[in-house]
Symmetry: none
């Protein structure tokens, strides 16, 4: 497992920089390959309600090894995974969670919450790129 606190902090820091450039205040969370929390930061003024959303996005991205935004289509009424969000508190099915990969192996994920979904996705992408 190649997730370390140093690498997780680099992901968080890159996300903070990107959010700052965009004028956003977000929550950022990084989990390891076991879905367990490694690092978290709430930027000043970020929504309190987004703490759990950021944690949930990181966990969900690793739990299903895909970007959380990819789940959005699958959980709509009439779609195959309708009802998934209620299975486990903290499951998030909209964008902002991205798996972190090392040599093609998923070793964790980052979750970002605080802006509009597309903004969270942009911040998460910048954060993940620092991994």
């Amino acid at each position: 497992m190649s997730m370390t606190l140093e690498r997780a902090m680099a992901v968080v820091d890159a996300g903070r920089r990107k959010a700052g450039e965009m004028g956003l205040a977000v929550n950022l969370a990084v989990v390891d390959g076991g879905c367990n929390l490694v690092a978290f930061a709430r930027m000043d003024g970020a929504f309190l309600g987004s703490i759990d959303v950021a944690l949930g996005k990181a966990r969900t991205a690793r739990a299903f090894d895909m970007e959380t935004g990819q789940l959005a289509g699958l959980v709509q009424p009439g779609q195959p995974l309708f009802g998934l969000p209620a299975v486990h508190p903290g499951t998030v099915v909209f964008g902002g969670g991205i798996p972190l990969t090392d040599a093609d192996v998923i070793v964790g994920a980052v979750g970002v919450s605080g802006g509009a979904v597309e903004q969270d996705e942009q911040v998460a992408a910048a954060a993940a790129a620092a991994f």
Copy 2:
């Protein structure tokens, strides 16, 4: 943080008066800037199931710094935040929760539940106006 019990009680009392005028029995909750409960009142005959809804509306309004009714459109099927209500137990995504602001800083929120959504919103507005 300028939330006090006295101010919270004034909000609750104003909501009770408004609900009384409308012939409604509602639950009313006020949280502070940290989403922690300050005051609560259940009017005689108000739904037991609305206790947690009122608490949830107050917490949600502060957690996302917006009226809970603003979330309603965003969480519908096909919309950006579909699935949000399942992230954290107690998240309420229909009207009746309103942030309380002091000199442009959000220092808490009020949540009202017991009537139709539009009625709850009217009571919450009257309650918030007393802050």
Copy 3:
């Protein structure tokens, strides 16, 4: 069921006065005969951690129809109800919760938390006396 919001508020107010005289800041909760919340107030500066304790004391006092302090002896190691506190989150087994009685029928309870246990008991007694 003779619990009303007016009577619950009188209980809360009496407790606030007593706590004020004692120089304490406490949380106060009143539940009805169904263990459901009727009124709550957190005095300025009262422990955040005591919110749930006050709610728990009120619910426990009505749930077992006795003062919560009476449970303390029963739940000690080797005693009959050892392990009870873990059965349901919110069960409180030390003093500060008192049933509220109307014509010998228990119709609710008050819970107080924020001071030392004996202080909470004194405030709860003063609060209950106003019922």
Copy 4:
């Protein structure tokens, strides 16, 4: 409320340095004055089970405005608060959580978990001193 992410990160960093000097791997959490998470870090190799303990220590220290170690004596069998840990999931009643104070006002808390209790207390003290 004078808690900021920058200040919280300084607390976490000071705790990491102290733990490193002691040859420990710990989890560190900082909450604000509303008991809401601001920053978290898990040092490489720290117990997974200590994630929630660190979070719980930080929340408990702010919830009761005291070092969590002060609760240890009060919750023993036969003592006044026996049973407290079961009231609210996440309450931690042994050392390693310390309030963070700004001009005599408690504005948050730090929680550390991963070593022996006395070790966690030493790390938390070093972390809190950086606030």
